[in-house]
Structures are given as C-alpha cells and as structure tokens.
C-alpha cells in the first residue's frame, strides 16, 4: 500500500511543486532544493494526518472490544483498564453471530465466484471481439453500477417473497452478482486489453483451440486482474448492509453486517457495545488480512517479459 501511495504522490508532483515553490519563493526567491524539501515534509504531514484519520476509528473499535462491558461510560481512557477476551467469547458463543458469519462467508464466496467467472467471459469477449451491441453491454453495465441500491430494495422485497427467494442464500447472491458484475467487467476488460494479441495467436499456431488459448494463456496472464475483481466483488458482498437487512428475516440467510444490528450482548442488563465491537473486529480483520496478502499479487505485473524488454 505504501508504495502505491508514494507513487501516487509522485504523480501529483507538478501541482504540489508549484505550491511548494510559491511558499519558498516568498521566503528566499525559490531555489529548487528548498522547494523539494518543503514539498516532501508537506506530504509527510498530510500522509500522517490521513493515516490517523483512517486508522484511529479502527483502533478505537479494537480497544473497545477488549474493554469489560461495564467499563464504557465509567472510565474515559482510550486503552482498556483491564484487557479481556470476554467479548470475543460472548460473540462466538452467540448463535446469532456464528450463523451470520457462516451466511456471510458462504454467500460472499459463492457470489464472488459466480460473478468473477461470468465477468471474465464477458470481459474477454468485450476486449477481443467485435460484435454488435458491444457498446450497449458496456453502457448498461455502467448504468447498473450507477443505480441506487436502495431504490431496488422495495420491489425486490416483494418479488422475492412471491417467488420464494426471501430469506434464502440465493435471494442475496443474485442481487450481489448483478451489482458486482459491472465493476468486475470493467476491471477485467481493461486487463484483457493489456495482454498482447500475439500471445493468443502464438497459442493458436502452437495448436490450441480458442478455448485452450483462453484457459492456458489468457486467464493465467489476467490472474492479477481476476484477483482484483474477485477481491472487489468479495468486499462488496461482505460489506453490504441494505440487502442483508431487507431481504432476510431469520438466521437462515442473515449476513454479519445485518446481524450486528440485532446483537443484544451477554445479558439484557448490559449495553452490548463492547460485544458489537468485538464482532466488528472479527469481520473487519479478515478483510484487512486479505488486502495485505493479495495487494502484492494485484500490483505485480505478471505480463512483464511477455514481449521484448
């Protein structure tokens, strides 16, 4: 993450340099060295600010999850007075949470898998073939991505109840796929376009059918793109709240984000805040881990060396 951020900063160089130079110029006629140094410290300050801004809430939740339920409201410290795993124990002992976790993982994985497979095929066709309606598909995909999710929830609720999809896994998987597809298609077709045509032609001359060329050459080369698309789709499904809360009613399909809202804590005499925080940490950590794991994979350009270097 650091490297991409750094390069992005470098990419923005000119404008910031202008600002830095102006500042330095006011002081001593603006030598290049002073401008560059001033610019650098400015960027460091900005990065730290953004880092605090984004990391602080997460840290806060983590700290809350380690506090004893009674501690909230009684003591003001950021760090817990007594570190405890009680909340996590409570969370995993609750059926509501464990079944929601299973639902979330199952639904997200299935939706991601199906969505990415479809998106790969569609994106390949869009990148490689000339066919009527290609523009229409792309613009429709974009239109779907733009569509406000909330406006669809009402009709879907009614429809799903009528056809018997309400409060089932497929009832969530289907809308997830349709909303994740556009993004995946756009990401993947960009990746496919990067792969030189010759790769495929070489495979064909070597004796591969179109399908073999696609499976043995194009897909492995587009792996970083497929990973990116898969991760984005997975996060979309994993984080969704609106569908999760509207299209489910029981433990049979309710995903974690929705389940958190129904959380009641260990006993009815306690505020469930710390337990909810523990549950939130449990569902946030996998996401962070996945990003950290695959980020290198996504960034790595697998295609280097395919053509002359």
């Amino acid at each position: 993450m650091e490297s991409t951020r750094a390069s992005r900063f470098r990419g923005r160089g000119p404008e910031s340099q202008g600002a830095g130079a102006k500042k330095a110029g006011a002081k001593e006629g603006g030598s290049q060295g002073v401008g560059a140094r001033g610019e650098k410290s400015l960027w460091i300050a900005a990065s730290v600010l953004i880092l605090v801004w984004t990391v602080f809430p997460i840290l806060w939740i983590v700290m809350l999850s380690f506090k004893r339920p009674g501690e909230i409201g009684n003591s003001r410290g950021f760090l817990p007075e007594h570190w405890t795993w009680d909340n996590y124990r409570t969370v995993f002992r609750t059926d509501l949470f464990t079944s929601a976790l299973i639902n979330s993982i199952g639904i997200s994985l299935i939706a991601t898998f199906v969505g990415v497979v479809f998106a790969t095929l569609v994106a390949y066709a869009i990148a490689r073939l000339e066919f009527p309606g290609k523009k229409t598909i792309l613009s429709f995909a974009l239109a779907i991505a733009m569509f406000p999710v909330v406006s669809l929830v009402g009709p879907l609720f009614n429809l799903w109840r009528d056809v018997g999809l309400y409060d089932t896994w497929p009832g969530l998987i289907i809308p997830y796929i349709s909303f994740a597809l556009p993004l995946a298609i756009w990401t993947l077709s960009a990746f496919f376009r990067e792969i030189p045509w010759e790769m495929e032609q070489a495979a064909q001359v070597d004796g591969a059918t179109t399908w073999q060329a696609f499976r043995k050459v194009i897909v492995p080369l587009a792996a970083p793109g497929v990973f990116t698309a898969a991760i984005l789709t997975f996060f979309f499904c994993w984080n969704d709240f609106v569908f999760g809360i509207s299209l489910t009613s029981t433990d049979s399909a309710r995903p974690v984000p929705a389940a958190l809202a129904f959380f009641s804590g260990a006993s009815q005499f306690q505020q469930p805040t710390t337990a909810i925080c523990a549950a939130a940490v449990v569902v946030t950590v996998p996401v962070i881990v996945i990003v950290l794991l695959f980020q290198r994979r996504i960034v790595a350009g697998l295609t280097s060396g395919a053509v002359k270097g």
Partner: protein
C-alpha cells in the same frame, strides 16, 4: 515438411485497400524463402495469411497438397516465431518450449526428451527453469525458436525475428537461424526488412512493394539482374545510383559526364528512347588513378566534383552531387522515399578503394565499370538491360548451391550431434574443437575459399556491418560467420 504454394493471393481490408495484391509465390519443399520490402509492403500480412491469422480475400493457399484457405491455424501444422517472441510469461522456459507438445497430448516422457534435445540445440539447458522475464533478449529469441522447432512442423514462419535485438546479437542469431534451417531442412518463410538478413539467409528472396510481388530470385539474381528500378534501389546498401541520361547513339549524356556504353546489347535495348535512367552501383565506380590501363579501357572515365568523402578504413565513400531535370528528380525522390531513405538532394554515392587520395571539394577523375550498369525506362521503371542468359545461369548456380548445402548437411548432421553439436561449440570451446575435428575441417574448407568471392560478395550491407562481414567480425565464432555467406558455401 511441405511446399507452400500461393496462387493469386489477395488481401483486402474493410476499406477496400489491398494490402496484398495478386501474389503468386511458390515456396519449394525445404526452401528458405525471404519476404522483403519496405514497411507497409504487405510482407507480414502475407506471412500471417500463410499461418492462418489473417483471412484470405481471394486466391488459393496450398500447404503440401492441401488447400488451407479456411483451415484454422492450429490445423495447419506450421510454427511461427513472432517479432516480439510472444513467450508465455507465466510459464518457465521448459513449459514454454513444451507448450505445443502438451497441446498435442504427448506423453511426459516424450515431452521431456524433445524439450531437452531442443534446449541443448539452442543452448538453453541451464535456463530451462527460469521465466522469460528473467532472460536476455537473445535468450528469449532462442526460446521462441525452441518453441517453433520442438514439434515436427511442416514449415517455419519467422516474422522479423531479429528486429528487437542489438546489432551484434542479430549477427549471431542470423547465423544460428541459417544453421538450424539447413540442418533441419524445413521449409521456411522469413519476413524481414533487413537487407543483410535477406541476402545471407535466403535460398530465394521475394521483393514486395505495396502488396505487389516485384521479383523472386536468388540474392545474387536480385543484386545483379533486378527487374526494375524498385528492386535495383531496394537491394544493395548504399543503394544503386540512378543517373538521368539522354541517349546519343551509343553515348549516354549524364549529369556527371558523357560516356560510351560499349555494349551493343544494351544500346539496342534502349531503343528509340531519348531519356533513360542509368543505374550504377556505388562499387562500380573507382578512383581512376587506381585503375590499371587495360581495365580502364573497359570502362568509362568521368570528371566529377566530389562534395564529401567518408573514409571507413576498409573502404571509402565519396558523394557527388548533380543536377537532374525536374520531372526525373521528382521521380527519383519519390523512389527514395519509398525505399525509406528520403534522400534530400540528388547525389551519386561512390565507393572507392580505401587507399584513394581523392579529397572532398576537389575535382576527381572516376572510372565507371560500364559492363555492370543497368538502363531503366524512366516511365515504367523496367530494367531494359536485364540479361536473361545470366539470369538462367544464376538460377542454375543457386540450385547447385542449395543442393550442395543439403548434401553437406545430411551426412554431417549425425556426426556433429555426437561430437560437438554446432550450437554447443561456443560453450565447448577447446574440447569441442578436438572432438568435432572432422566437421570443422569441412566447414573451414568451404569458408576458406570465401576470399575468392571478392566481387560477388559485395552485396553485403556494408554500412551496417563494416566489420561483421569480414572474417574476423563476430570474434566468438569465426567459423560460423564465414559460413553464413552463401557464395562462400558454393565452391
């Protein structure tokens, strides 16, 4: 192995532009055919039509006995080396080479055997487990070739395979390709825009211009007996000088002087044309003071003003500017633009002996070898003085060369394999030399006579390989560098 026969092949793109126009070409079984021409002449398109990556608009393409117009590339059993190699970056070198075999569902044992063999032939053995991204340009090129030769394809197709390599490596790979082709004896079609490659590699060369086939023939035929202005200007570097001349009996009045043609056949070929273009190769000029008396009488002498000289050590170039009539000058400029050189002024390029003391800015007396000059019709560009008898002679000669090469390669092949495979000589250095004594001696015998090619060898691209063409050029393998010269192989 198979012959490739093209009959009236046309490729038209959507806008009706014919990239390839009515090309009929016959590539014989086992022949090394070069397609050459300036950029945009349709040579790559033609190659891609052979392999099946482009549709054929009309005409007939045969590989062996089979018409393949609508056959999918994978069913044509051809292998191709792409300009950018098109290696699979996610596979190791081993798997890259094994790819065609895996697709053909060969047994693991056979794949291993053949890949190992191929790798040994191309000196890739120690790189087999690496990924293409970690290889140098030359190594990638060899991997691409390995992938092409690993299976028994009917023909090899090369699409400018050396254009991404630096000059030194290009020279080495050129000999490598030549050696491989002679050894495997597989029909090969090779697209290039590089003259040296065209001249040194091919059994025959086909020159294309704007999608139209101009001439097919042995490199020597193209050089000595071009059919038109375009071929004459395209083949040879520096290219042939075209001097506008008005005809006066057997005398030609050119901007650099008036001289006698001394050849009845050529004089009669001119007919009743008033104006012609006289084509003289740079090396057919010489400093008159260095030409012996009897030789001098066989040519013509002209006095010219030398503008610039370039001394290169082994030879010397002199530039002689001249004024040409407006409409002919325009035509010549158009031609030079088409040949990718875009010469600004009309000037003759003259190649002189390095010992010549002609100085820039002075008047100088030059001798022209009039027996070698060609006369072209300025309107059609047709060569009026093409010597058909000589053409036949050269064609016979080319056939003999080819047969001799094949004969020499066949009995040699098994022995070289056991002793020191040519490809491994570099690595085997001393040891290989001892073990492979016999074949090497043979090579040397052929190579040794290379000195006698003197005049005939001048078609080498002098400008791009001032040393590369000499015996001592690529120092790593003196033997092979000589071997690459077809004329040396003939005797």
């Amino acid at each position: 192995m198979a012959a490739i026969t093209m009959k009236n092949i046309v490729k038209q793109y959507g806008d009706g532009f014919p990239a390839v126009n009515d090309v009929s070409l016959d590539v014989r079984d086992g022949e090394f055919m070069i397609l050459v021409g300036p950029s945009g002449c349709g040579k790559s398109t033609l190659l891609r039509m052979i392999v099946g990556l482009e549709d054929i608009t009309s005409g007939e393409m045969r590989i062996g006995e089979k018409v393949v117009n609508t056959v999918a590339p994978r069913r044509r059993n051809l292998s191709m080396v792409f300009q950018n190699y098109a290696l699979y970056p996610h596979l190791t070198v081993y798997e890259n080479i094994a790819f065609p075999l895996r697709l053909a569902k060969r047994s693991d044992e056979e794949v291993r055997r053949r890949v190992t063999e191929t790798a040994k032939l191309l000196e890739l053995t120690e790189h087999l487990e690496r990924k293409p991204a970690n290889l140098s340009g030359g190594q990638r090129q060899r991997v691409a070739m390995g992938r092409a030769i690993v299976r028994q394809a009917d023909a090899f197709l090369f699409d400018e395979p050396l254009s991404n390599l630096d000059a030194k490596l290009r020279g080495q790979m050129r000999t490598e390709i030549s050696r491989l082709q002679r050894r495997l004896g597989v029909t090969t079609v090779y697209v290039t825009h590089d003259q040296t490659e065209a001249m040194t590699l091919g059994d025959r060369v086909a020159v294309l211009r704007k999608g139209i086939l101009q001439q097919v023939g042995s490199p020597r035929e193209l050089y000595e007996q071009p059919v038109n202005l375009f071929v004459a200007g395209f083949i040879g570097s520096p290219s042939m000088n075209f001097l506008p001349a008005s005809v006066d009996g057997t005398f030609l009045e050119t901007p650099i002087g008036r001289f006698d043609l001394r050849d009845e056949r050529k004089a009669s070929a001119v007919g009743d044309r008033d104006v012609v273009l006289v084509g003289v190769r740079p090396e057919d000029f010489e400093d008159a003071s260095l030409v012996s008396e009897d030789k001098r009488a066989a040519g013509a002498l002209v006095r010219v003003h030398v503008d610039v000289t370039e001394w290169l050590g082994n030879e010397q170039y002199a530039y002689v500017p001249y004024e040409a009539p407006r409409e002919l000058a325009d035509q010549l400029r158009e031609l030079s633009r088409e040949l990718d050189s875009d010469q600004m002024r009309t000037q003759a390029v003259v190649s002189l002996d390095a010992s010549s003391l002609i100085t820039a800015g002075d008047e100088a007396e030059l001798w022209i070898n009039t027996s070698r000059l060609h006369i072209f019709d300025p309107a059609t560009g047709e060569n009026l003085t093409r010597d058909e008898a000589r053409v036949t002679e050269l064609a016979d000669h080319a056939t003999r060369v080819r047969e001799a090469q094949r004969r020499a390669q066949r009995p040699d092949a098994p022995r070289t394999e056991r002793g020191a495979p040519p490809g491994r000589r570099r690595a085997a250095a001393g040891a290989g030399r001892v073990r492979g004594r016999r074949p090497r001696g043979r090579w040397r015998r052929w190579g040794g006579s290379g000195g006698s090619r003197a005049g005939g060898g001048s078609w080498r691209c002098r400008r791009c390989s001032p040393t590369g063409g000499r015996a001592g050029g690529p120092r790593r393998r003196p033997g092979t560098s000589r071997r690459s010269a077809p004329s040396a192989r003939t005797r």
